[in-house]
Amino acid sequence: MNLDKLHNKLVAVARKNPPGDQVPYAFEQRVMARLSTAPRFDEWAAWARSLWYGAAVCAAVAVLMSVWSFSPDGEQDLAANFSQDLEQTILSPADAENPW
């Protein structure tokens, strides 16, 4: 079967049969009733809300960082070992050149 032909045929069918544009009875009134009951979008309120969200996220990050900074000594040992290793690695060529 030629799928391109079928594709074109079905598109032609859809073009020839556009959907209707009937509007249900009293639809405008329904929309207006909904709009009058719905709270109006307040940009300042949305901005304030997003600031509060941002503040909450910042506070959470601050708490996490504090907890991390007070974490056990294992980290300090690791840091000490790391500095020792680094020093040894950097100075090893100098030690090799000056054996005395």
């Binding site: 799928l3 079928l6 045929k9 079905l10 598109v11 020839k16 009937q22 639809f27 929309v31 109006r40």
Partner: protein, 238 residues
Amino acid sequence: MRTSFRHRAHPQDPRNNFLCFEQQLRPLPLRSGFFVSALPDMGESARMERTDADSIAAVLKGDTASFEPLVAKYSPRVFATARRYARRESEVEDIVQEVWSKAFQKLSSFRGEAPFEHWLMRLAVRTCYDFLREHQRNRETSFTELSAPESDWLDTFVAAPESASDEASAARELIERVLAMLSPAARLVITLLEIEDRSVKEIAELTGWSVPLVKVRAFRARAEMRKCLQRITREKYL
């Protein structure tokens, strides 16, 4: 001249205060000379646009009731658009209500550089796309058997493509079924590009996508539709 008038007439334009905008839109006698010189041959369309602008200005001033004429005037267009993407009438009504709700909330962002209808249709298409994405799970991912009329129409098409009627309800059902199988982006692109015969640039403006993105999505959409058709015909004839 027309564009500059619209631009100057915009209520939020810093170069014009709101009172000035209203005065420009008042039909007669205030500044009628301005209208004659600025809009020499706009006739009925200019008067219609002035009506829309009047309503919009009133709504922005806080007169919510002035929104109703806009709803009454443009609802048929919005309904026709929504019916392309939703089958059930309750869903269509939900989409249209959502469009008007968004239009009301975002009315202050309407800058008056293009007709209100264009701005509204952009909103409608984007709302329909959101609807399709929300209902993505419900789409017909698994192929269900064709109905007897659909099957007959397909048989007729296979035997003699020209004799298969474009008006048959079975054909309409079949294209509806194929569109329902597509992903939201593919369905939107196929509908706008092939069924509504819009240009890539128009689609880019309506959807907010870039022109290259529309082209890429159109290519993928055609491939996706081809796969769906392949699947339907394979199930039927193999």
